[in-house]
Structures are given as C-alpha cells and as structure tokens.
Symmetry: none
Subunit: 313 residues, 2 copies
C-alpha cells in the first residue's frame, strides 16, 4: 500500500534532516526555532508577530520570548503595527540581517555537502522529484498544469513494452474492473509485436512527460491484406486533457498512410467513450458492434475502420 511507502519516506527524510543539522551546530548560538524565525523575518518585510506565529505555527508566549531575546541581542526592533495597535511590527536590524545571512550560509554549506554526494547528472532528477512532492502535497494546488508541448513521442526503450502491459492492466482494472485476462491479452499483443515486426510496417509510440511514460499506441499489420490495425491506445489520467490521444492516433494514421496501407481498423469497447470521440474525429466509422463477455465483464465490442485512400492528409 502506498501509505507504507509514504511512511517509509517520512522516516527516511526525518533521519536525513536530523543528520543534516548534526547536533545543531548549524544554528549556534540559536535554536532551530529561532533560526526559523530569523529566516522568516529575513524573507518578508513588514512582518507582525502574529504573522510569524501563523506562518511558523508557534506558541504565542514562546515567540514573545524569542523576540525578547532577539531584541536583547539587537537583532530586531519592535514597534506597534501601523494597522492594528494590538499587533507588534517586527523588523530586522542590520545585525539581524547579518545573523540571518550567516545561518543561511551555514545551512547552504550543509546542504551543499549533502548535494555533493549526488552525481551532477542526477541533480535535475532530484530537484524534479522534490518539486513533484511539493506540488502534490503542498497547498499550492494551482501549480503547473502540464502543457501539450511538454509531451514528447518516441519509440519504445527497454521496459517500455512491459510498461504498456502494466499500465493497461492496472488502469483498466481500476477504471472498469477488468480482470487479469485483459492484462494477459495485452501481454500477448506486445509479445507478438516484439517477436517479429517490420519497422517499416509496424510501430509503437510512447508518449513521455517529464521523462516518464504517460501514453502509448501501437500500429501493426492486420490479417486482411493492405490493412493496418491500431491497438493499445492509452493515456495516463494525469496526461489527459492535453489532446494526447488525438496526437497518438494522428501519428498512427499518418504512419499507416505513409507505409502504404489502404485501410486502418481497430477494435474497442463501447465503455471507452473518450477514445470513441477521438476515432470519430480522425474519420473512423463504426462498422460492427457486438456484445461479448471478456475480462470479467459484459461488454460491447466495436470494430472501427478508416479508409486511408478516401481522405488525404
């Protein structure tokens, strides 16, 4: 279960941070909390004590004492807030700014030496992963809707055929309750493709977003002569709404036409409404429809067909 893994990560990161600020040498002569207050003050102006309390989640009394200490060390000055006389406006003195800078520097050094253990080439991956976590767990929900241009199409690399099987199996199980029979079918299709395929006539596309596969489609020869078959169209939930399905089907249609096929067919099921719209948009027409019992469900299979000579481009 994913909960296990998140907990494992929490333990890991708690230990890591603990190891980082190794016996608080980092903050001397201040405590971690005091350092956080200083940091906060250094990174926003016109801060009231109440803001600090809210931002850092501190006890009011505790904060008051910390500010007392800072005032004693002449790191801050306290005045009455212009908006509300109950509030106290806190501002750093020059000495306070220097103290904050010193702490930041030490922290930089510590993080720097941690980062030095990561190969240069891997750092972008690390930062990307951190961004992902903040995006998903952070309150800043609005952040970074992926864009269609961020998705690149490529051929399959090692593990990608397996990825197709895995994601088809997992997604259709989650979304429609299909059983392992479907995953087995996908495995067979993929195995047949891997066994023999003429690259000029058969091809697989993987759609990649941020270095991760998020979609796929396959074009193979059909038994009927001059006919190509589109199979295994899949778009990950997180990449939906980017027109990616359209793009993948477009690739297949263009490829099939270039390869000299006269016709493109595909088999799908009526529960897949979104896919149907895409096929229709590309000029496919429904030629046959019949119920079947597969994958542990009662389904209605559909055969679709596109005449590649009829509509160019």
């Amino acid at each position: 279960m994913s909960v296990q893994e998140v907990r494992a990560f929490n333990r890991f990161y708690t230990n890591l941070i603990g190891a980082l600020d190794y016996s608080r040498r980092l903050y001397t002569p201040y405590t971690l909390t005091e350092a956080r207050v200083l940091y906060e003050l250094a990174h926003s102006d016109g801060t009231d004590a109440a803001d600090l309390r809210g931002e850092l989640g501190l006890d009011a009394g505790y904060l008051s004492r910390i500010l007392n200490k800072f005032e004693g060390d002449e790191l801050i000055e306290r005045t009455v807030s212009p908006e509300d006389p109950r509030r106290r406006r806190v501002s750093l003195t020059e000495a306070g700014r220097q103290a904050a800078a010193l702490l930041a520097e030490r922290s930089d050094a510590a993080v720097g030496s941690l980062l030095a253990t990561v190969p240069e080439a891997e750092r972008p991956r690390l930062l990307e992963a951190m961004r992902t976590i903040r995006e998903l767990l952070g309150g800043t929900r609005s952040s970074r809707q992926p864009r269609a241009e961020d998705v690149v199409l490529r051929g399959p690399g090692p593990g990608d055929l397996g990825w197709i099987v895995q994601r088809n199996g997992a997604l259709y199980a989650a979304e429609f309750g299909w059983n392992a029979e479907y995953e087995g079918l996908v495995a067979r299709i993929v195995a047949d493709y891997a066994h023999t395929h003429d690259p000029a006539l058969e091809r697989v596309w993987i759609a990649e977003l941020d270095g991760q596969p998020v979609g796929c489609v396959m074009c193979v020869r059909d038994q009927a002569p001059g006919t190509a078959r589109l199979r295994l169209l899949l778009v990950e939930p997180r990449a939906r709404g980017l027109g990616l399905g359209d793009r993948l089907v477009g690739e297949v249609v263009a490829f099939a036409r270039d390869a000299g096929y006269r016709e493109l067919t595909l088999w799908t099921n009526d529960v897949l409404a979104a896919a149907r719209r895409i096929y229709r948009r590309h000029g496919f027409t429904l030629v046959d429809e019949k119920p079947h019992h597969s994958f542990g469900k009662d389904l209605v299979g559909q055969d679709w067909r596109l005449d590649l000579r009829a509509t160019p481009g």
Copy 2:
C-alpha cells in the same frame, strides 16, 4: 541554485511532518523518540541496547531511561546479551508488539488522510518522486538497510504481470545489454500464464518491499509430465542481499512439491551467477548446457533440474 531549492524542500517537508504528527497525538502515550525505539524493536529481533543506540543515534542515558519506562509498562524484557555480558538484549513482549502495532496504525491513518488530498491518479507520481529522492540521497547517509522481514510475498494484482515484463526487460537490458527480444519472451510467458492457469498447479509470486514490487518468480507446468518449471526469477537491485532470491525459489520448490509434481526444472544462462548459487543451494543440478545466440548476445543456456521426491522438506 540547487542548494536553495533543496533547502526550500527541507523547510517544506519539515513543516509537513510537523503538521502530520499534529501536537504528537500520534504517539500518545509515547514520544516520537520512544515510538522510534518501539518501531525499531518491532522490526528486528535480537536487538541489543547498543544496537538501538547506534541505529537511532540516541544518548545512552536517555535510551536507558526509555527502556526503563518500557520495562515498567511491560512492553519489553531485558536480559543479558548472549554474546557479550556488558550488553543488554532487549525483546518486545506481546504487549509491546501490540503497542508498536497501534502506533503503526495511527501513523498509517495520519498518512492516509494526507494522501487522501492527493488525487488517485497522481499518487504513483508522488511515490515515484519519493523513491527517486531516497535513491539519490539515500546513498551513504542515514539510509536504513531494508531487512528481509520487511519483504512480503503475495500473488499478482492488476499491473503486476506487466511489471514483471517491464522490469525483466529494463533490468536485463541495463545489466547485460539484452535487447527487446527478451522482453518479448517475458511478455509471452506472462501472456501464456494469464491465458490459462490452474491455480493449484501454476502460480506467480510478487515480493513487495514498502508497498513496492521488488521481485518475482513463476511456477508453471512443463510439457514433460509431472514436471514443473520455475521461470522469471527476478530481484530488484535495491532488494538484493536480503536472501530474497532464496526465499522465492524456496516458495516455488515447496509449492511444486505440495502440488504433486515429481520434478522441477528451469532454464537460465551462465551469466546469471547469483541465481546459479541459489539454485544449487536448493538442490538443483545442472543437466545440460549449450551456447545460443539470443537477446542480441552470445550466451550459454543452462538446464537445471531438481528431483522433488529425492530430498523432502
């Protein structure tokens, strides 16, 4: 600068974890440190106090007092370590085991409600990001070596057959340069298994660590009557050294014997040295060996065989 970003992430995650164990309700009646000690005890046996100190980086006196408290609550028992009379061997009582389970459960709940704020579709990305961070930063620092007991074996769920294909394809490509032919072969094996299999005679095991698959093995019927075949043994690099391969093969041998097979065979390649040791340890003998060209390489295939009637248990 990346240091800035890592620091930002550290602040973010520190706050997040702080918010998670919201005023320590999670651990009552224990403290975070006590909970960590309990966790450690619950996940390893034959622990000495000194081990705990080392593993968790605690002050000796502090730990001693924590153990006093646990002993008072009858969560643990302290005896003299068999190896060294200076050391104290600490072991959980039944009550202690229950307390640890309770804490784990609460922590699960807290993480679960955090996770609930993340859309289902995004969770795999979250976990992937966490895995990346652990992989990159876990290196030397405070990373805890996973333990054999943390790995659980289970049957395949949705996507797991695909996972087998994917990881076989990717790992053998990375480690031995094998091409897509191998991934296709694995896909075929998996497809055949999914197509028809009698659960009494054929089975797949998935090994899971922290909720993540890290290994697999398959047992299927061979053409030869009364013969079972072991296939697709795989252990992820991060789970190696835990005796997991041994455990998986042991499962297969026991299953095959129970299922009434008289013989267990397998085919492997001589480049897979670690696997060979495992097979030998379980009593397999090499019966044939011949060179072949497959997967883009010149290889030497090996047939191994185990007589299930010869050596019981």
